[in-house]
Symmetry: D2
Subunit: 252 residues, 4 copies
């Protein structure tokens, strides 16, 4: 049994620090780096790429809606052309820092409202997939396990990877519980570790209302913007290793 551990990083902006990237990055196998639209700026992108390269962690782009004040968590009604062009822009910008550091992008994972919208709205999922196919056709598109994101990616000829979450709770239909509702985040390291093992080893997750549902995922996300992510990441790693799961990056 094998799983990738990914985290959203590079989400500082200008003078404002978010997350604990230097400590977190060595604990995961893939990082999704913000591209300046919902978070991140050129200096942050460059420094984050460098940390990831130094630690041998796979680098991916983490594009989002162009809405800094809203951190990409607010749905923005962009046209297909606007969304595709914004994604090409963001992915290419991050790719520039990766190439300048001598590495290639391994994957792309949309952020926030774009991620959740692409999971259930095929028009948005298709625009995301087309943008990736145009600017980075060989990278892996990460999307919510079982969602339209992955279907749209496959339809565009992309290699896709299904994602599940150690630190977010699930609804009965397999979607993530909205951050606007209580119990959306799983802060307790022990509970996050249990959920990670359930996903990776047992291919199931317990929903917010207490049922077990099946989930098939190649990668598990740990949120870099939340408090306590470092101890949670340590607990998840330890539990996965204790359960005999091989923690390794996505294969290209």
């Amino acid at each position: 049994v094998r799983i990738d551990l990914n985290s959203d990083v590079g989400e500082s902006f200008g003078p404002w620090v978010m997350g604990a990237d230097a400590e977190l990055i060595p604990l995961v196998t893939s990082v999704n780096i913000a591209c300046g639209a919902h978070a991140g700026d050129p200096v942050t992108m460059e420094r984050t790429v460098r940390i990831a390269v130094d630690r041998g962690v796979a680098i991916g782009a983490h594009p989002g809606y162009p809405d800094l004040a809203g951190f990409g968590r607010r749905r923005l009604d962009m046209s297909d052309e606007e969304l595709e062009a914004s994604l090409v822009f963001q992915i290419a910008a991050l790719d520039g820092f990766a190439r300048a550091a001598g590495v290639e992008l391994r994957h792309i994972k949309p952020h926030g409202a774009l991620y959740t919208t692409a999971a259930t709205d095929r028009r948005v999922a298709d625009a995301v997939a087309r943008a990736v196919a145009r600017v980075a056709p060989r990278v892996i598109l990460i999307g919510l396990a079982g969602s339209l994101s992955l279907e749209a990616g496959r339809a565009c000829g992309l290699r896709v990877a299904a994602e599940a979450f150690a630190d977010r709770s699930y609804e009965a239909d397999g979607t993530l519980r909205s951050r606007r509702l209580d119990g959306a985040l799983i802060a307790d390291p022990r509970l996050a570790a249990e959920q990670a093992v359930a996903i990776a080893r047992d291919r199931r997750v317990r929903t917010h209302d207490g049922h077990d549902i099946g989930v098939v995922a190649e990668t598990i996300c740990l949120h870099g913007d939340a408090d306590g992510v470092v101890p949670r990441a340590r607990a998840v790693r330890a539990a996965l290793e204790g359960a005999g799961v091989d923690i390794a990056p996505l294969a290209g």
Copy 2:
């Protein structure tokens, strides 16, 4: 005798149109496309790249200070790290649209206050050259003829190209007359055409105060943001052709 004709294009933003790109692009041999920092947005970048590709015109990046409201014409006191990272970001973003369209960037030309600062401030010139060398080492760096920009580019191992202006007037020291002063712009198509021929054929330009100075340039700029650029471009082309000058893009 051979000269490249370049123009700054793709300087619209969102709902706001600047210039007459569709008419101007076929009249030049190289275009410098804004990269979203001082002007341009992802949709504009994509559309402008497409027009240039359709017309067979060489594509270059036109990065500037990240200051949309000031159109990159206000000096911004960025650190070297900030400036380099901003340029890597901008150039890479435009490169993404070029690659998605199946072409390569031919050149890079800084915009506005960054262009004029890099011409006389070696620290800034070096930061520009380093950024280009890191993200696009095979492209041509365009700088003001005789300026520090070109020295810095050569010092970084870049191919450089000296630029002169058909529609801007010159000071006695070979710098451009500031846009804040009267007589900075040469609007009259006939005068711009005369200046273009003087530069390309005779390797000299008449300064604002009436003296002739030598200038050696591989490319001549026509400003895309100014009124009347299309008739001016036509007049310049006709005059150059009449003077036996070969109008052709920069050789890679």
Copy 3:
């Protein structure tokens, strides 16, 4: 019979010009000035206020979704707190220029996607009304005739004014035909003038599919961002005057 003529102005940004404010402002009785979120910038706001004061035209704020690249025409899923605070910010900023010029804000009219959303979504209409009531309780809130905007304004104790459009076509339910559909804009000065007279004198408008519906409006909008607005405004004025309609600003 009396009607106010209003127009959206001050929608330039930085180096980018939109509209023909200096020519249009003398032709209307009220102007809605963009507040820097969807369009406008401090210099534009100041200059536009000055033109309106010089011409004796009533000044209003024209706040929109904070989305410059999208010109406030894309729905943005802001929380109530975010939307209210954004509106207080925008209205207060414009009010500062008005006060510095010695005049008071007469009215407020939301822009673009905020205007159309507030017309049909009571939660958004309430947030708009609350923001106005908090920062400018004595101004007039302009909203689509017959819409929830006006109900929400009245519920907050605001003086409201119903608006109709000379240069937009209507659907059968009294909403504006979407700009994404053909026939949304009425460019022909003669047709716009006819529609203005029908609204002001006859209290009806012919819909896009050819039926007459009733409309009761105190103010008629002429769009400042569209081509041909100046001749259209002249035609509308002339037709209204010819029909014996008194063109005068909203009474405070």
Copy 4:
């Protein structure tokens, strides 16, 4: 002997938190609230005003260069018209939240590079003073003790207040030591407290190179964006009270 204690607050932006405003505000007598240009956003402005009103602390505007990524710490070469209009915009926007909360602005203090530039560049100092005089003629303009900022304010008929710093070190000429140099910040609460007492009681400050210079100040700044500001503020208050200094807001 009487002194005001002021702090820069409201410098969070969107999802990014800066400072510890809720803890710091009760420890000072005046707060300078960021206005959305270098930091702050409408929701942050509103919440910060509310905390200050609840705590009975005097509210001031803290406008800066419109440069979020650079946090207003980079000099931006704005024209006088641009700078004045930007300041009117920022001050008016904050004033809107103050009025909505039922209080008046007491003071205005420029931020970062604008503050230091206005201290030594009379053209910039004049533009700041003119903007304040136009939009808020009755507020107090805070500037560096002994600097051109105060002269320019007086020349515009403004009430001015001289400021000194407890947590920044001074050069021999009475200017602040640049943040780019070592020893610019005084992090040790005991040293900051000593410097505050020297300023308030003894009207002198020891410079970075060890000399005592005179300083006459009505208000002392504690930086809200720095680590350890809360214990530093407590130490400064305790030392001032122990030295018999009356800590009270600026009189209007």
